[in-house]
Amino acid sequence: MKKALQIALGVLTAIGGFVDIGELVTGSEVGARFRMNLAWATVLSLVGIVLFAEMAGRVAAVSQRPVFDLVRERLGPRLAMVNLLASLLITLATVAAEIGGVALALELATSINYLAWVPVVGLLVWVVVWRVNFEVMENVFGLLGLALVVTAVAVWQLGPDWSSVAHQVLHPAKPANESMASYFYYAIAMFGAGLMPYEVFFFSSGAIEEKWTSSDLAVERGNVLVGFPLGAGVTLSIMLGASLVLGPQHISVSSLYQSALPTTVVLGKWALIVVIIGFFACTFGAALETTLSCGYSVAQYFGWQWGKMTKPKDDARFHITLMACLLAATGLVLTTFDPVKITEFVVVFSAAALPLTYLPVLIVANDPGYMGDKRNSPFSNAVGFAFLAVLIVVSVATIPLMIITKVGG
C-alpha cells in the first residue's frame, strides 16, 4: 500500500513539478506563432528527459552517486569545472526566471507591480528551502500545480477540429511567413524548455534525499514514466490553447498575461483564478528546485556534505552556496531585466549545455561496478545514444541559429 501511495503522490506532484516558466512562456509563444507545427519538439524533449532522468535517478538510487559527482569523476576536474560553471550559470538564470515568473503570477492576481513582489518571493523561497521538509515542499507545490490542468479543460471546451490538430502535430510544416532558421531556433527553444539541466540535478539528488535504494526503482520509474508525460501534456495544452485563441488573431506572446488569455477567454473568471494559482505553484516549485540544484551541483563537485534534510551545521557550505545563488538570482530580476526575456535565453542554452552532463551518466549507467544487474538494457542504450546525438546536434546548432535569426527575430 505504501508504495502505491508513493507512486500516486509522485504522479500528482509531477504535473505541477514538471512544468515551469520555460514551458509556460515558450509553449504559448510557439503555439501562437507556429500553431502545433513544433509539438514534435516537446515530444522529443519528453523522450529525452524521461530517458535521462530515469537513468540519473536509477544511478543515484543504486550507487548513491548523484549526477555532478559522476561528471567530475568521469571527465576529470577541469572539464567538469567548465561544465559546472556552464550549468550553474544556466541554473542561476533559471532561478531568476522562475522568481520573476512567481512575481508576474502574483502581479496578475493583485495588479501590484511584479518588481515589488520579487524580494518577497526571494525571501519566501529561502524560508521554504531553509526550513520546510523536502517531501512536504514537493507535495504542496506539486498538488497546487495540478491547477494547470485547467488549460487542458479550456482546450477541450474549445472543441477544436482534432483531425487538423493531429495533422499539424504528425505532419509538421514550417509556416510560409517564417524562415527555416526561425523555425528551428524555436524548435530548440521548445526542446530546451522541456530539458533544463536542473531537472536532472534535482531528480537524481532528490532520489538520494528521499533515501531511495534499488528496491525503490518501481517508484522511480513510476515518477518518470507518468510524471514527465503529464507535464508535457500540460505544455502541449498550453501550446494548443495559444494556437487556437492567440494564433488566429496574429498575437505574438511576450508577456505572462497572454499565457493565461486562452483559459480566460474560454472558461472565464474562476478558470483564470485557477490558472494563475497554477502559474504561481509551478514557478514557485521550480524556483525551489532550481535554487536547490545550484547547491547540489556545487556541493557534489567538491564532495561537501549536502542535503536539505541534513542539519545546517553539518553542511554549512551547501546552505551558504544555496543562499548566495538565491541572492544573486533575486538581484538579477531586480535589475528589471524582463523575466520573460531571461526565460527565452535560458531555454535556448539549456539543451546546448547538456551533452557534458549526460555523457557521464549514460556511461556510468552501464558500469557493472556501480549498477550491478541494474545496468542499461541494449534498448535504453540504443535510444540513449540517439539522444546523445540529438543533444550534440542541438548544441552545435544553437549559436549559429541565434546569430542568423538575431535571437529568434
Binding site: D69, K313, A316
Partner: protein, 137 residues
C-alpha cells in the same frame, strides 16, 4: 580489502571519488593521492589521500595549488605544510565511493570550513538551530 595482489587503476578507480566516513557521511573528494619517494629500485608506495582546495587547486595549475597551500598555512596555524591529508590505511572499502574507518568529526580538515561558517555566518540566521557564535542548540 584483504585481497592481496589486487590490481587497481588510480585515476580510473580512486581519483576524484567521493570519500565517505564510517557512517556514510560525505567527507570530501579524493582530490589527489600521495606516494612515498621510493629509494633506489623500490616501487613508490601509496601513503596518503590529499583533499581540499589546496590539493584540488594544484591539479588545475601548480602556482594556484601553492598559493592555496600558503593561504591554508596562514589560516590553520598548526597545520604541517601541504594540503589536508588522510592516511591511506584509513580506507576501509573501495567501490563507487571510498569508505573510511574514521568518523567525519575526527577529520578536523574536513569539518573546519563548515564549523567556521556555522559559527560566524549560519548562527546569525534565524531558524538555523544554532546559538549565535556557538555550537548547535
Amino acid at each position: 580489502m584483504e585481497d592481496r595482489g589486487r590490481s587497481l587503476w588510480a585515476a580510473l578507480e580512486l581519483l576524484d571519488r567521493q570519500l565517505l566516513d564510517c557512517d556514510g557521511t560525505p567527507v570530501a573528494k579524493v582530490d589527489d593521492l600521495e606516494f612515498e619517494e621510493a629509494e633506489a629500485e623500490e616501487l613508490p608506495v601509496l601513503t596518503n589521500i590529499l583533499f581540499g582546495q589546496a590539493a584540488l587547486g594544484r591539479r588545475f595549475n601548480r602556482r594556484l595549488g601553492r598559493g592555496v597551500e600558503m593561504l591554508r598555512r596562514v589560516m590553520v596555524p598548526v597545520a604541517e605544510p601541504g594540503p589536508a591529508r588522510i592516511p591511506w590505511g584509513a580506507v576501509k572499502a573501495i567501490g563507487p565511493h571510498l569508505t573510511l574507518s574514521l568518523a567525519r568529526s575526527d577529520i578536523s580538515d574536513a569539518t573546519r570550513v563548515d564549523d567556521w561558517l556555522t559559527r560566524h555566518v549560519l548562527s546569525h540566521i534565524p531558524g538555523s538551530g544554532i546559538k549565535p557564535g556557538g555550537e548547535s542548540q
